[in-house]
């Protein structure tokens, strides 16, 4: 029983990390169709933001709370710059986008190595996040609970933004039918920039969150980018609810597989499940019904 709860939580917790990493991607890739291979490096930038903030504010608790919005800003601004300088020139060329953003990812990794050095840096977790609470005998780490809460908060914020604000309405309008939105007076340019800013900002927040469980190194992004794409593709491109379901399903499945086999075999099994699933349902869990003709 104790183990079951521990493992179920491990799955939910892994799911929440996947969700955080994939949420921004489901905006930029899903809604805008930009394959951003540098999304992982935006996470890394968020993680290093947490490190830098901690150098300035030595109290780990305060610095973590400051790092979350700071990471959002850093990720978002990087995204804006990438969008303005490179991506807007190639919105209709997804293959070029993929290669260009892959190059940007390499540049960002090297920049991190040059600025912070190749070894990983230590971001301390605040005292109130150390240790765990026991639920029916199973230890639930507080850092994991924090990440779970943060991912749900980001999700709620994003849904609220898309559903309940004029800005969100414009973004959705552009996704559904870019031409019609444009002729109706929506500035698609502005909507694109904002979407990319928010999506990249969410990557920054994810980066801040993962400093609590892993290492902060120039390679941080490469650990998450593949999983993030898997979540978005399995969930259905352009579908935030699909990404949510896919993230938690993959998290729980991976924990189950990993527990009953080994970490490496578990990873293989999860990839097989995704491949089979996409054979049966290439559009993912949900598919986007657009009104566009393309």
């Amino acid at each position: 029983m104790e183990l079951l709860i521990g493992q179920m939580f491990a799955g939910l917790s892994l799911g929440s990390v996947l969700l955080l990493a994939a949420l921004g991607l489901s905006l930029t890739f899903g809604q805008m169709g930009v394959i951003n291979m540098a999304h992982g490096e935006f996470m890394m930038a968020g993680a290093y933001t947490a490190f830098v903030v901690q150098q300035v504010i030595s109290d780990a608790g305060v610095s973590l709370l400051v790092s979350v919005p700071a990471g959002f800003l850093v990720g978002g601004v990087l995204g804006l710059v990438l969008e303005a300088v490179l991506l807007r020139r190639m919105y209709h060329r997804p293959l070029d986008t993929l290669l260009v953003t892959f190059g940007v990812a390499l540049i960002l990794q090297q920049a991190a190595r040059d600025i912070f050095g190749a070894p990983s840096v230590d971001v301390r977790a605040p005292g109130w996040l150390q240790g765990n609470i026991e639920v029916l005998g199973a230890p639930i780490p507080l850092t994991r609970l924090f990440i779970l809460a943060l991912s749900l908060l980001c999700l709620a914020g994003l849904v609220l933004l898309l559903r309940a604000t004029p800005l969100g309405r414009r973004i959705r309008a552009v996704v559904l039918n870019r031409d019609l939105a444009e002729t109706s007076g929506v500035s698609t340019r502005r909507s694109d920039q904002l979407t990319f800013f928010i999506g990249s900002g969410l990557a920054g927040v994810a980066g801040v969150a993962v400093t609590l469980i892993g290492s902060t190194s120039p390679y941080l992004g490469t650990n998450y980018i593949v999983d993030a794409f898997l979540v978005v593709v399995a969930g259905g491109i352009g579908q935030i609810k699909g990404a949510v379901i896919a993230a938690f399903a993959l998290g729980v499945l991976q924990s189950v597989f990993e527990y009953s086999t080994t970490a490496s075999v578990g990873k293989v099994l999860i990839l097989i499940v995704i491949v089979v699933f996409l054979q049966l349902r290439p559009q993912g869990i949900f598919s986007l019904k657009t009104r566009s003709l393309a």
């Binding site: 493992q7 892994l14 150390q130 491109i237 970490a263 993912g284 657009t290 393309a294």
Partner: protein, 421 residues
């Protein structure tokens, strides 16, 4: 017109991009034969007529291994300066030719060939990963040149052209197991990164455990660089093992120790013995995550020997007070002095004469007196178990009563009979 991403087009493309990325990481798996074949068997071109003699240093000064290997380069540089200041080798000043292995085994093989054939160095020092050593081995054998390799490794190798100054398995892993058994450890959980060293090490541990009645409650591998350990720490916690044997490499250690601590496991209830965390790695893993945990090496900065005090003081004076010294750095420093002693015993820089003279050569190293075993070209070392202290340095908690003879093929251990095959 909405930009539509065709998933069927995207997936293979993304896969191709991933493959490119992975190929970059995987380039450690090189084909040693192709690099070795360019080297021709020729007579040595080492110039011994002048007042100086060339030696080669080959370390990764760029790429993922640079962080570790640049520290070895530093300690080699220190040893060369010290030797030159005290009169050189056979009256000749050392002239160092340094090459960057760039964390790629193929590059190591190619640069080693250059150091031997073009630079005509009398001996080469360096290498870190086993794949870089395995890539260089055919080059040194084909050219009949000398490599001094300073890092602990998985054993099961011996070449007359390589001197191994780091620990082989019976000088690091087996003593660690002896220590655990002595402490009353009845069960172990094995955690490692999924590549050659942890897999070989765990094979040895399994054989040892079977012979000594220690129960192995789990053996888990994670892909290199993996940061998700919640399931593994749950398994470890659930196994209630007496101790954990950790052969994880690099950044995975950070994630493992953080998540280990966060489910309430601690050094005093379930200690973790690590074989790849040295003084250099502690800050990156985070001191509060590993304080009190155990390590297995042959050298620690805190060793109280006159040779070590001199080494640490000289190193800090040259490279800065905040720098630390670690086992591979000490083994590299020692390797240059060992070569000097071999050359002086042989009275010649000639490779054949140095090889013949090598057996029994000793050096009062920072880790204690080391002696070269001319049969397998390894050296005697004193295994030590350490505990990470509150300053991030490592205190010796157990030390082998005497230096241990190197036994790379574990020929003297009955229980290891089937391993060397």
């Amino acid at each position: 017109m909405r930009v539509s991403v065709n998933k069927r087009a995207f997936l293979p493309l993304a896969a191709a991009a991933m493959a490119t990325a992975l190929a970059g990481c995987g380039s450690q798996i090189a084909d040693p034969a192709s690099a070795g074949s360019t080297a021709s068997t020729g007579t040595s071109c080492v110039d011994t007529s002048g007042s100086s003699i060339k030696v080669g240093f080959i370390n990764s000064l760029s790429g993922t291994m640079a962080i570790s290997e640049s520290t070895v380069f530093d300690s080699l540089t220190l040893a060369a300066e010290e030797i030159n200041a005290s009169g050189g080798v056979l009256g000749k000043q050392l002239q160092v030719v340094s090459e960057d292995g760039a964390s790629e085994p193929t590059k190591f093989a190619e640069r080693a060939g250059k150091l031997i054939q073009q630079d005509c160095t009398a001996a080469v020092f360096g290498g870190w990963t086993s794949s870089s050593r395995k890539a260089m081995l055919p080059v040194f054998e084909a050219n009949d040149a000398l490599l001094f390799y300073p890092v602990q490794y998985e054993g099961l190798e011996s070449s007359k052209n390589i001197f191994y100054t780091g620990a082989t398995t019976n000088q690091q892993i087996i003593p660690a197991l002896d220590y655990l058994a002595e402490q009353g450890t009845k069960s172990l959980f094995l955690v490692g990164s999924d590549y050659v060293f942890p897999r070989t090490a765990n094979k040895i541990i399994q054989a040892y455990a079977a012979a000594k009645g220690i129960e192995i409650l789990g053996e888990e591998y994670t892909p290199l660089g993996s940061t998700e350990f919640s399931t593994i720490v749950n398994k470890v916690r659930d196994s209630k093992a007496d101790a954990v044997f950790n052969t994880l490499n690099g950044d995975s250690n950070v994630a493992f120790f953080r998540q280990y601590k966060s489910v309430g496991l601690a050094a005093d209830t379930m200690p973790v013995v690590s074989v790849s965390i040295a003084e250099e790695e502690v800050p990156g893993v985070g001191l509060d995550n590993v304080e009190g945990q155990l390590t297995a090496w042959d050298y620690y900065q805190t060793l109280d020997t006159p040779a070590n005090k001199k080494f640490v003081a000289a190193f800090k004076a040259k490279f800065g007070a905040e720098r630390v010294t670690s086992d591979p750095m000490e083994a590299a420093y020692t390797s240059l002095y060992l070569w000097k002693a071999m050359v002086e015993k042989a009275g010649s820089f000639d490779v054949d004469k140095v090889q013949t003279a090598a057996d029994g050569v000793t050096f009062e190293a920072p880790e204690g007196l080391v002696t070269v075993n001319g049969e397998n070209n390894h050296i005697t070392k004193t295994p030590r178990i350490g505990k990470i202290n509150s300053e991030g340095l490592i205190d010796t908690v157990w030390s082998s009563p005497e230096a241990v003879e190197p036994d790379p093929f574990l020929a003297t251990y009955d229980w290891a009979k089937d391993l060397a095959k």
